[in-house]
């Protein structure tokens, strides 16, 4: 694998680290199985691409994408807590609806951004040869900020209340926590992060496509699960770190698998590799426990 291919894998890994942090909030912290990601990721991409193509500031485009993502997550949560629709079903409804909405936003199935300014372009300038270094570096900085921001938030009074909501809602209510509002806010935060990832994705890939969201949730979950296997912990800042590392490792393994000619895998095998990787990560803790038990005999 070449260095540029490695950096490319790192770049996408960093973007999906943001997705993974969002998935961590919904699936793990709020215990809300949420598939909205498959719609909110391309929503962020569509909003950002449309705004940038319309001549707006790329940073502003990311901000608006975050708001749009937050609205979609809030809507999923609202369908659940206010209308009592099953969590999974509520998120599928929003995801499906977003497909049409994304088409409406872009006015076409795809929107190229070749030559348009991005958040990266001021740092790249006219020298396009350094793009493969600048983009991962900037994304890494953004991910560090997002990770530390989440760590600070979840250690705060409000953040702790959100964690309690997912861990034991009845207890949380008994402590005076408005659990419904916490779910609404947490889901908004989760999908805002995922939408920003979509906004960054279109700026690195040179355009948005309505089908770019397919499988987002699986990749996010894969990163969370690989992270948990890699670095099992109950401490929140370690969990967020594990999630980011999980996303990077996942993309790296994918790149390795696709680049190793002797295995004979091709790009269309991506989803198969994902399924195998996640399956392996899920079984690994049990295998480890089994192996650890063997030498000592009993227990």
């Amino acid at each position: 694998m070449t260095l540029i291919a490695l950096m490319g894998a790192l770049e996408i890994g960093l973007i999906f680290a943001l997705v993974a942090l969002g998935v961590l909030i919904s699936f793990r912290i709020l215990d809300f199985p949420d598939l909205t990601a498959d719609g909110s990721f391309p929503l962020g991409g569509a909003v950002a691409a449309t705004l940038i193509a319309g001549g707006h500031d790329p940073w502003l485009a990311c901000g608006v994408a975050a708001l749009a993502g937050a609205a979609s997550g809030w809507l999923t949560a609202w369908l659940n807590v206010r209308l009592g629709i099953l969590q999974l079903l509520a998120s599928i409804l929003v995801m499906i609806a977003l497909y049409s909405i994304n088409l409406r936003i872009m006015g076409a199935p795809n929107m190229p951004l070749i030559g348009s300014p991005t958040i990266f372009s001021p740092f790249i300038g006219d020298n396009f040869d350094i793009a493969w270094q600048v983009q991962p570096a900037m994304l890494a900085a953004l991910i560090v900020v997002a990770k530390l921001g989440l760590d600070v938030f979840f250690a705060s009074q409000a953040g702790l209340a959100m964690r309690a909501t997912g861990a034991n809602a009845r207890m949380a209510r008994a402590q005076g926590i408005a659990t419904e509002r916490m779910v609404l806010a947490g889901m908004a935060l989760s999908n805002a992060l995922i939408a920003v990832a979509g906004a960054l994705y279109v700026q690195t890939q040179g355009g948005a496509d309505v089908s770019m969201g397919v499988g987002t949730i699986v990749v996010g979950l894969a990163a969370v699960i690989i992270g948990e296997t890699l670095l099992p912990s109950r401490t929140l800042w370690v969990i967020t770190l594990a999630t980011v590392l999980g996303a990077l490792l996942y993309r790296l393994l994918i790149a390795l698998a696709l680049n190793a000619d002797f295995i004979g895998l091709q790009a269309q095998d991506l989803n198969l590799i994902t399924a195998l990787l996640v399956g392996f990560a899920l079984v690994l803790p049990k295998l480890k426990a089994k192996l650890a038990r063997k030498p000592g005999g009993a227990r």
Partner: protein, 264 residues
Amino acid sequence: MLRADTLFKTFNPGTPIENPVLRGLSLQIDSGQFVTVIGSNGAGKSTFLNALAGDVIVDSGSLHIDGKDVTRTPGWQRAGLVARVFQDPMAGTCENLSIEENMALAYYRGRKRGFGPALNRSLRELFRDKLATLKLGLENRLPDRMGLLSGGQRQAVSLLMASLQPSRILLLDEHTAALDPKTAAFVLELTDRIVHENQLTALMVTHSMRQALDHGHRTVMLHQGRVVLDVAGEDRSRMQVTDLLAMFEKTRGEAIDDDALLLG
């Protein structure tokens, strides 16, 4: 202090499994009074407590705590007035959060939660001092996961958590029922101490008539969603478990077939 007036609550109304649990329950409790509540299964004890806490909203009747009408107030908004300890040790705490995080959650009960850090040195100091009074060695285990504690330890911490913030009333829903006799005795003793030290108004549901008479100032018996017996003061201190049973039978004009009331 607490005034419940003709509370009615029916679960699954209009269905074959319709279940009228509260049928005109009225009860007044003065400030600082420790009331024990007994009654057979299905008498409405837990539903009454849930109605006070706001987990259940009554169909009709009115509920005042400290002069405030809370009949329709959702549970989380009553948390500043009501503290509670659940029967299930798992229910009252978050097992995946640490001891100090659980206590921090309780420390902000009924208060606004902002973006400031949930824990700091002075809070940890406070939690450590409080835990030390339990004499369970928990003061050195602040960062440990709540799930690592035994049921008795968790109930003891739950009691502490309930007393971290002032509340108008403490609700104890058979909080020793899931514990072994020795641990139950310890938690009950702790309950008496915390209620006494903090001058709390408390309502304790129990399955044991012995406990009901040995603790608190007043005993109330529920049957079919109503108060059928209410004793305090002299009458109560002279009363034995057998007297309680006899009074119950007289009032209701029927024999008790629930062993749980006789045992324990």
